[in-house]
Amino acid sequence: MKELRFRIIMIAGAIALCLYLLYPTYKDYQNNKEVTAQLEGLQQSIKKSSPSLANAQIKDIIASKKDSILTNNPDYRSAREKRIKLGLDLQGGMYLVMEVNTAKLLEKLARDPDDQFKQALKSSEAELKDSDENVVSILARKMKQQNIRMSRYFGSIREDDDAITSKLLQQESDAVTRAIEIISNRVNQYGVSEPSIQKQGSRRIVIELPGIAREEEAKRLLQGSALLEFKLVKDADFAIPIMNQIDQALAGKTEKDSASAKKDDASKTDTTKKDQKLTDEQFAKEHPFFAVARLLDPQGRIADAYVKESDKSKINAFLENPEVKKVVPDNIEFIYDQRPEMDPDGEKYYRMYMVNKEASLTGGVIVDAQSNIDPTTSAPIVNMQMNTEGSRDWAQITGSNINKRCAIVLDGVVYSAPNIIGKIPSGNSQITGSANLDEAKLLEIVLKAGALPAPIEILEQRTVGPSLGQDSISQGFNSAWISYLLVALFMAFYYKKAGTFADLALVLTILLSLGVLAAFQATLTLPGIAGIVLTMGMAVDANVLIFERIREELATGKTPKAAVDAGFKISFSAIFDSNITTLLTGIILYQFGSGPVQGFALTLIIGIVTSLFSQLILVRIIFDFILAKGYKINVG
C-alpha cells in the first residue's frame, strides 16, 4: 500500500502540473469569449456603416480585431503568451519562404556587364535549377573554363578569383540580412503578434506571420523593395507651437482661445512646471496630446517626443481628429524611431519626430555604405557615397540646412536622425553617433537597401484565412471528443471494468499531451490535432495487449494477482518494441516536415510517450488497488 501511495502521489502531481500549465490556455479561451461578447455590437455597426461588405468579410474584420485586442491588451496578453500556441493553419496567417535571387544580384553588382558575361550568367542560372551549388561558384567555374578572370567584372584587378568569389558570397549573405531587416521593420510596423523571421541556409528566409487576417495587410508587407528616404526633421521653433495647437484643439479649446493658446506657447516652460502640480488625470484632460507624447526636452530645444507603444494608436486617432487637422500643416508628418527605449517598468517608448512629409532625397542615389570604426576617435561611423546626381542635390540640401537634422527613413520608420554639420559637396558623407558597431552595421544595411535592393523571390507562400482556421479548430475539437467517445465506449463494452480503466488512462494521456505541449511552448497545428485524435485510437494498444494477456493467463488457471503481474510483465517487451518503431518514424517525420506536418509528428511522439506512461502506470495502480482491496478483477 505504501508503494502504491507513492505512485498515486506521482500521478496526482503530474495531473496538477498539467492543469497548472493548461490554465493560461483555459483563461485565454475565456478571454476570447469575453471579447467576442464585447464585439457583438460591432458586427451590427459595421453592417450599418458599410452595407456593401459581405458577411464573411465582416467576420474576417472582427476576427482580426479580436486577435489584436487579445494580443495587445495587457489584461489578456499574459494568458495569450502562455497558452498552447496555435499554428498558422489554426489561427490564420501567412507562411512564406523567400530566397535572394543571386543571379540578379550579380547582374547588379557587375561592372560593365557585356554579352559574354550575360551569357555566362544565364547558363549558370539554368544549371542552378538542377543543382545545389551556388550561382556564384557556378559562374566562377564557367568563367574559368572560358579563361575570363572574375576581376574583369567584380572587385579590383589585383584580386584573384577566389577572393572575389568569397566577397560575392558575402554580398549574397548581406542581401539576405538586408531583406530580413526590411521585412522585420515592416512586420513590426504592422504589429503582427508573435512573428517569426528566420534565415534558412545561406540565402533563404522563412517567415511566419500569424493572425494576419486581412489579406491586404499581408500583401503590403511583401510588396517590392523597401523605400529609403531622407527627410528633414522640423526645428523646435516650428514644431512645438504646432504641437501646442494640437494639444489645445484636443483639449476642446475653440478657435477663440487660440490667442491664449499662443500665450501658452511662449511660456511653454512655465506651463510644464505648473502642470507638474496637476495630477496625471488632470494633466491628461488639459493636455491630451502632451500626456501621450512626452517631450524629450522640457526646455523645448528639440521637438522629439516619447510615445508609449500602446499609445501609438491614440496619436493616430488624434491626428485624424478634424479639429487637429485644421492646425496641422499638410506638409509635415509624425514618424517614429525604429527601436523602442525601455523604461524601468519594461514599458516600450518610441521616439516620435516631426518631419517634412516630402522626402528631400530617396535612397536610390546611394552607391555604397560602409560601417567602420573611426581611427582617431574610435567611435563607430558609417560612410555613405552617392552618385553624381544625388551628390548635387545632397550638397544643396546639406548646405541650406546646417545644424538641422535629417532623418534616414526606411519604409516610414526612422533609423537615424543625424545632425547636418556642414555642406557635403562630394556626396561622401560620414554619419557618427551610433551607440555601437552593431547599430552602425544596421545603419549600413539600411542605407544599402537604397543602393542594392535585395532581389528577393517568393518560393512558397501559404495563407490561411481566420475563418478557415476557426472552422479547423472546431472540426478538430469535435473529432477529438467524438473519437474519444467511440473508443471509450468500445473499450468499456469489450473489456468491461478493465476497459473503463483504459478509458481513464486515455483521459490522462490527453491531459498530459496537452500539458507537455504547453510546457514546451510547442505549436498545435491542425494535423497536430489529427495526431491527438489518432493517439486516442492507438493509445489503447498497450492496454489491449495487457488485457488480452491477463485473459490468457487467467485461462491457464493463475490467480488474479499472478495473472495481472504476468500480463504487465510479459506484454512489456511487445509494447516497448512496437512503440519504439512508431516513435522512430515519428522522429523522421518531424525532421522531414515543416509547419503543420511537424505539428502532427510532435503530437504523435508526445502521444506515444504519455500514453505509455498512463497505460502502464495508471492502469497498474488501479489493478493493484483493486487486488489489494480484495475486489474481483474483470477483463471482460
Partner: protein, 379 residues
C-alpha cells in the same frame, strides 16, 4: 466479451492465397499509376491553389466555365467541403503571355479613370512584373494606392531616383480573385486559404519525401535486426513495402471516383504514409514478439507452427487495436474537415492494409526468407 477465443487458423499454410491477393492489388495499383499517373498536389508540382468561400451557394460548373473564359487554361475548379466553398488550382507559375495584354489594358484603364490623359511610360515589362513610370512622385503615390485597391500587388520602384515609378506584380491568384469578384458582385467571397509553391520547392519536397520514407524503412530494418533477427527485419520491411505500395495504388485508384473526396498527393499524405509505416510496424512487431516468445518456449516446433500459434494468439489484439484506431480515422474523415480529409483517407487505407499485412504476409515473408536461406532461427 471475447470474439476470437481459442482461434486456430493455419494462416501460413494458406499464404499463397494472400500472396495472390497482395500481388494482384499491387499490380493493379502499378497499372493504375502507369496509366492514370500519380495526382500530385501543388506541394510537389508547384502552382497556385486558392480556396474561396462564397456568401451563397455557387454552381461549380458555372465557376468552371467562368474561370475557363479567362483563357488561362489548366485551372481546375472543385468544391471544397460545402456548396459555398470552391477550390481553384493551377500548375501555372506565371500568367501566360497571351493574357498579359488583357491585364495591361485593365491597368491602363484604371490609370485613365483616375487621371485622364496622364503621361506615362511602361519602363519595364516581364512575365511577372510591369513597371510604369509616371511624371511625378505624387501621381505615382496615388496610382500606387489605386492599383493596389483594385487588387494588384504594387510597390514604388526604388531604383527610380525620381521616386515616380510603380511596379505592378502579376500573379495568377490575384488575376483569378479579381476576375471572380467582378463576375460575382452579388455573391461576394472571402479567401479561406491560398497556397503558392514554386517549382524549386516542389522538387525539394519531393526529394525530401522520398528520403523520409526510405530513411524510416532503413531505420526500422536496423532496429528490428537489432531487437529480433535480420531475417525478421527483412520480412518486416518487405511487409512495409507491400503496405506502402498497396496504399499508394488504392489511393491513386480512388482518385476522382469518390465525389467530394480530394485524393491528391500532398505533404500531409506523405505524413500519412509515414504514420502508416509506423503503425503497420507496430502491429507486426507485436506478432513478432509473440513468435520470439514461442520460439523460446517450444523449441521442438517448427518456425511455421510457432508463427501460426503466435498469429492466432495475437489475432484478437490486432483486430481490437485496429478497430479502435480505425474509429479515430473514420471520425477524422467525417468530422475532421476538408483540409484533413485526404490525409485521413490515406491513413484509412493504410491502417487496413497495415493490419492485413501484419496478420497475413509479414510472418509469411519471414518464413519464406528463412526457408530460402536455410537458416535456423533461435532466440
Amino acid at each position: 466479451m471475447r470474439i476470437f477465443q481459442n482461434l486456430n487458423i493455419d494462416f501460413l499454410g494458406k499464404r499463397t492465397i494472400f500472396y495472390f491477393i497482395s500481388a494482384t492489388l499491387i499490380l493493379l495499383g502499378f497499372i493504375n499509376i502507369l496509366t492514370r499517373g500519380l495526382h500530385l498536389g501543388i506541394d510537389f508540382k508547384g502552382g497556385t491553389e486558392i480556396a474561396l468561400q462564397f456568401e451563397k451557394p455557387v454552381d461549380i460548373t458555372q465557376i468552371r466555365n467562368d474561370v475557363n473564359k479567362l483563357g488561362l487554361g489548366g485551372v481546375e475548379a472543385k468544391t471544397f467541403g460545402s456548396s459555398n466553398d470552391i477550390l481553384l488550382r493551377t500548375d501555372l507559375q506565371e500568367i501566360p503571355a497571351n493574357i498579359i495584354p488583357k491585364v495591361k489594358s485593365k491597368i491602363e484603364s484604371i490609370i485613365s479613370n483616375t487621371f485622364p490623359g496622364l503621361q506615362r511610360r511602361i519602363a519595364d515589362s516581364t512575365s511577372t512584373t510591369i513597371t510604369i513610370k509616371f511624371p511625378d512622385s505624387r501621381t505615382a503615390d496615388i496610382l500606387n494606392n489605386k492599383l493596389f485597391e483594385a487588387g494588384f500587388q504594387t510597390s514604388k520602384a526604388i531604383d527610380d531616383t525620381a521616386n515616380a515609378s510603380v511596379i505592378v506584380r502579376l500573379t495568377i491568384s490575384d488575376l483569378l480573385k479579381e476576375n471572380l469578384s467582378a463576375m460575382y458582385k452579388s455573391n461576394p467571397f472571402i479567401v479561406l486559404k491560398e497556397d503558392k509553391v514554386g517549382p524549386k520547392v516542389g522538387q525539394e519536397l519531393k526529394r525530401d519525401a522520398v528520403i523520409a520514407v526510405m530513411l524510416s524503412l532503413v531505420v526500422i530494418l536496423i532496429y528490428i535486426s537489432f531487437r529480433f533477427k535480420f531475417t525478421f527485419a527483412i520480412g518486416a520491411v518487405a511487409a512495409l513495402f507491400h503496405d506502402v505500395l498497396i496504399t499508394l495504388g488504392l489511393f491513386t485508384f480512388l482518385y476522382g471516383l469518390i465525389p467530394g473526396l480530394n485524393l491528391e498527393f500532398s505533404i500531409t499524405v506523405v505524413a500519412a504514409f509515414l504514420t502508416l509505416i509506423g503503425y503497420s510496424m507496430n502491429d507486426t512487431v507485436v506478432v513478432f514478439d509473440r513468435v520470439r516468445e514461442h520460439l523460446k518456449l517450444h523449441k521442438t516446433l517448427s518456425l511455421e507452427e510457432n508463427m501460426n500459434k503466435a498469429i492466432n494468439r495475437t489475432f484478437s489484439r490486432t483486430i481490437i487495436t485496429g478497430l479502435a484506431t480505425l474509429f479515430s480515422v473514420i471520425v477524422l474523415i467525417i468530422f475532421g474537415g476538408e483540409v484533413l480529409r485526404g490525409f485521413a483517407f490515406a491513413l484509412f487505407i493504410g491502417m487496413i492494409t497495415g493490419t492485413y499485412s501484419s496478420i497475413f504476409v509479414a510472418s509469411a515473408f519471414v518464413l519464406e526468407y528463412a526457408n530460402r536461406t536455410h537458416k535456423k532461427i533461435e532466440f
